[in-house]
Symmetry: C2
Amino acid sequence: MSTTIPETQLAVRWYPASFDVRLENVPTPMIEHPDDAIVKITFAGLCGSDLHVYRGLEDVHEIHICGHEFIGHVVALGSSFSPLSPPSRPELYATLQVGDKIVSPFTTSCGECSPCRRGFTARCTSSFLFGTPVLPGGQAQYTRVPKAGGTLFVLPSSISPNASAPFLDVATFMALPDPTLLLLADILPTGLFVALQALSHPKLSPFTANTSWPNTMDGILYSHISTSAAPLMEDDRVLTIGVVGLGPVGLCAILALLDLLEHRQLPTRFRIVASDLNKSRRAKMQNMYNALPAPSKGPVGSEFIVCGVESLPTWARHGCHAVLEVVGTPPALTLALSLLAPSGVLSSCGVHQAPPIPFTGRELYNLNVTLEFGRCSVRALFGAAAGLLARRRDVLGVVGEAGVVERVVSLRDAVSAYEMFEQGRCGKVVFDAWA
Amino acid sequence: MSTTIPETQLAVRWYPASFDVRLENVPTPMIEHPDDAIVKITFAGLCGSDLHVYRGLEDVHEIHICGHEFIGHVVALGSSFSPLSPPSRPELYATLQVGDKIVSPFTTSCGECSPCRRGFTARCTSSFLFGTPVLPGGQAQYTRVPKAGGTLFVLPSSISPNASAPFLDVATFMALPDPTLLLLADILPTGLFVALQALSHPKLSPFTANTSWPNTMDGILYSHISTSAAPLMEDDRVLTIGVVGLGPVGLCAILALLDLLEHRQLPTRFRIVASDLNKSRRAKMQNMYNALPAPSKGPVGSEFIVCGVESLPTWARHGCHAVLEVVGTPPALTLALSLLAPSGVLSSCGVHQAPPIPFTGRELYNLNVTLEFGRCSVRALFGAAAGLLARRRDVLGVVGEAGVVERVVSLRDAVSAYEMFEQGRCGKVVFDAWA
């Protein structure tokens, strides 16, 4: 099964050692394995973590096609895709068709290994990251998707079956432009992930479940003997959260956080402090917050402060029950820890590199710290992220200076876009593969 | 309120810089604050973390009375203890009596601050650790307990109100000897804590709740759209756990872990690998396991392996869904991480010191690691630990070479006991304050 595919395509390739990407004509990918799909890309994203490679900070040395965010249409399928595919395999092997519109998570996942079944698709035993020497990326006109039946999401069929009406209107969702839907490939689920890792931790049960720690722990504590001195008071339930980093993922993390707090209707107010070194990022975050409807800004008395490190409010220092770290550097971790209250949760989605963790054992012991690290399992969170995107389309659907996606440019302008993005002169860029 | 208290007492005092503890006659403590209680100690424990100070590894430089585990009777109370104590204060201020039998958590907690109400009593805003320059310890004949109404547990009244019959028989419990009940001051709750931190983490929901990650997260995910490729299979639910360190707390951690797994009746089998450098510790752990009744050894097909680092089974390397670190050193953390599978939980109760955490950001990101650090909030876990102690009295009640408590010696022999314990020539020692 295939449509006509040209022999060559435009693609952005990275060259060692650093700061060298080139727009080149390269061979179009072909089916290499029965589980492969070839996707004709409409739009591809430029992500903050692409800069790690661009700057030469990753342990990567071979020329390769960049990019791990893309949306497009299926143009060829391997022989595994057949109505006769056994029911033991992921359903897409039986149902995916040439012509289907898809969005791909930024990592592949087979859907057939134990980590996949347990929900940790980013740590699938045969997972590959797009835009690396082992798997050419999406900043191109075509790309090959391995294990496509376990990896891809078909729009809209992947989101329709169980959508509950108040939260996800499929028609509204599908009317969103591709550069907005592209947020589902990585940064919106990743923002949701870092917020969810914090809020779902049992230590936050006083805020999320109105119970002291340890709460019933999903029934793990089999005997309960009341030993706490006093019940929770209203002031104990004022949730305080810090966010370090207001790049595109940081914006998504805060929108996800506010959405989780709103729709859980936590019977308390909150205080959020969001910090970034970059003034224009802070201004954008503040403007986004201002543009939210009142119910999304939290219960009466809630606070939302955007500031530089030099003007953090006094209550934020060692005062946050959770801190989201959305940068991926040792200084960001150090700042995050300095904001964390004892018994707090530091949730990190930063793509950290070779430097050691800048904490001592004594610091972590004395503060009873939880540290959460790692890569978002986009597949496991896709549904929740799609609902968030539909609900928050007022903000997430904006393309331009005020939006998460600041610019849509031709793939032909990728080299200068890398330069501007790297220098902080623009926010998130999306490439139109065919403009 | 007081009984006759002598002017001086025997106590073990630490002298800088290291390896110098002395048995001395010192003044008996007196009520210093209305919230104080004076306790006449019957038995006091020598704990692995006492060795950090003994060896000069803690940031402590002043002479002080050692020890943070003790059991005894109240002999004097400050003026806050009165039937007229306001109901807004912890109940013990109205009910505690001279003569009551008590066990004390190893840290004080007021029961009146927000961390206390939220269950984090070890991080009470006015918490002190016994056996430090700011709060003389329990390796003595008397000690002063600040914030005693928020800190102490009265036996048996603290454990009776909500005890559910199959799990906690109060009469049986109270028949246990004091050196066994003393385990409730620190090491049994701490062992339970490190096991519970692992099992209660949402990432372990495939094993504890039979749901892929993210599960309902206590309702935090407000919309569910099925995206996982395949349901959990039975093999996905074979829980694999590593334990690093088989000192007294490590033994308690494993007994707690097995008890949690047994009474939760998790419908799966498990594999546990427990490691220590010390051969006699390993032998004791193996003997304890062998002595357990069959139902406590797990469902059919479960494995329990005790071994040295050199003979870890192949499946353990990067194969454990959770690892309990019960040592408190960088090498122990390094070993623990090497056992952890991707998306696993490293739960640490080790009292870590000044060295940096021996992990890079890349390691933690690439493995999607959760790290849990800190001190057990004994007050919050006291009830559950008491139930565990009653159920597992067959093993925990043994005093001698085969038990967690290996020796009961006179407080007068404390100096040589420190030497033997430090050199690994004996396991846990309890001091009889009056022998």
